[in-house]
Subunit: 141 residues, 2 copies
């Protein structure tokens, strides 16, 4: 079966680029700097279904993405999560968290998360910056 990104990710996030394993997205939620890695492996739902090479590469991409976000956004904490309770396709959230953000210190995966899409100008500006960064980063294992 050919790999396709789940529609619920594709319609709620901006595509930023493809790394060796994963497509990288920016979640369309202006309250957070929230990126998502979607490994391009058909039918994967759990990390343990990946081969050892794939899962180490996923870890390298999680690290590359969080280090990039750390440098760019200077957050108080990086949060990572692989849940998949709603969208079962394997995807990893990497979120820059601030002590001043609306859900601190809790996780973002909760009922109190209220939709707050970017306005077009803000999205365009951020996507442009992030696409350039994603392209520049060389994920090494």
């Amino acid at each position: 079966m050919q790999f396709e990104v789940d529609d619920r990710i594709h319609t709620s996030a901006f595509w930023l680029g493809d790394w060796p394993l994963s497509a990288v997205y920016l979640k369309n939620h202006a309250d957070f700097r929230w990126l998502i890695l979607v490994p391009r492996i058909a039918n994967a739902q759990e990390i343990y279904q990946l081969s050892i090479i794939e899962r180490h590469l996923l870890m390298d991409e999680m690290v590359a993405l969080s280090a990039m976000m750390e440098a760019l956004f200077k957050p108080d904490k990086i949060n990572m999560g692989a849940l998949g309770n709603m969208v079962s396709q394997l995807h990893v959230h990497v979120v820059a968290r601030f002590k001043t953000d609306v859900l601190w210190p809790h996780g973002i995966w909760q009922p109190d998360l209220i939709a707050n899409p970017y306005d077009a100008e803000e999205a365009n500006g951020l996507v442009k910056i992030l696409r350039k960064k994603i392209e520049e980063v060389s994920v090494t294992s």
Copy 2:
């Protein structure tokens, strides 16, 4: 500085064993089968602070733990998270989730999580089973 597990983990979870990188704990919360990996690296707060060998080993332990929990608990979904907003010491949650559990489909890291410690008999039984499993699993990279 010598490594010590943060008191807030040590007092809210049962120690199950030590794997090559991480101490393994069972969170004292009877609503979930919720395990925690604490890499025994002093002062680590973010995964990107680990060496490449350590972070690949952490991934191998996340996979070994989730595969063990999958076989033992037969959950609907494994949830993994590395947050650290409250306890900054690096630790990774691995949680067996069920469509019937009290917080499904949301994450567990949220204000609606109500404390529900195990009673002693239930904890003793589960810890015994899990310690044996943790000892049996050989984490390979």
